[in-house]
Symmetry: C2
């Protein structure tokens, strides 16, 4: 199992994609991984919108200035949470991290695009994907077959570690 | 790499631990995994407080009603973020998820204890661990050698998946 830790370092933000589509089986694997993440009191209140139509991906690429790679990505998953749940952002962020890791494990590339708490971005995504209250899109994940390679991340910084007390 | 996806399902919330200590190498592996998580604009503003002294672990077990297993855990990591960063909760949640997964990969058990946004819990942890502003403890992670076993999680629920639009 220790080799499995490599997955955590191999995940990098990939923003260039080929036009090969992501398979239904791969989508299912990523969503299954998402739902294996922990939630406060195991409430699993998350919801996922899976977008693969070219026109809608192009529309999503306009929701904010850092979403341009969605013009190239063949898949986008919007991770949504119920904002009446105290820990909803954290729960959905853990699910998002699992999707990124699953994508990496499947040989796909992915990048996390923050949406909440930017009001305009939330409104844009809500409108395009018809997301009802009290759900909020935490983020979009752009996914596709990678057209760029990056080495594993090694960002360990001892200065950020405190022992017993800060 | 596809086997690496098993890691995501094998991670379960473990609340019973033996008294065998977690090694320095294992602590380093988990923190390295944490810092391999993505952050908005790659700012990596996270900070980690690693607690292994019995007395302090016992004190942390009193910070809220769901933290009792810290009396048994041999290690606790507090994941802290800079609340002036827009996406700080999400960034720290992704790092937390990586710590849980790394623990699983190392054969350790772990459980995520939500702290922020509960004001009293934040204040208790801040005081015990001397965490300065503008940093906030997002959560505590109780870690140890597991004294319980759980089967892999399979929580896939098609009802939570929407295609193209909600």
């Amino acid at each position: 199992m220790e080799n499995a830790l490599q997955l955590l370092h191999q995940r990098r933000s990939i923003r260039k994609f080929t036009d090969q589509p992501v398979s239904e089986e791969q989508i299912r694997s990523m969503l299954s991984a998402a739902m294996a993440a922990p939630t406060a009191h195991n409430r699993q209140h998350w919801q996922f919108v899976v977008v693969s139509q070219r026109e809608r991906l192009d529309q999503l690429s306009e929701v904010h200035q850092y979403a341009k790679m969605l013009k190239q990505a063949t898949l986008c998953i919007a991770v949504c949470g119920d904002r009446t749940q105290t820990f909803w952002e954290q729960d959905c962020a853990a699910a998002t991290q699992n999707i990124l890791l699953a994508a990496t494990g499947l040989g796909l590339g992915s990048v996390w695009l923050g949406i909440h708490p930017k009001p305009e971005a939330v409104q844009n995504v809500r409108r395009l994907l018809a997301i009802p209250e009290p759900y909020v899109p935490l983020c979009l994940i752009a996914i596709g077959h990678p057209a760029e390679e990056k080495p594993p991340a090694e960002r360990y910084d001892e200065a950020k570690v405190h022992y017993e007390q800060w």
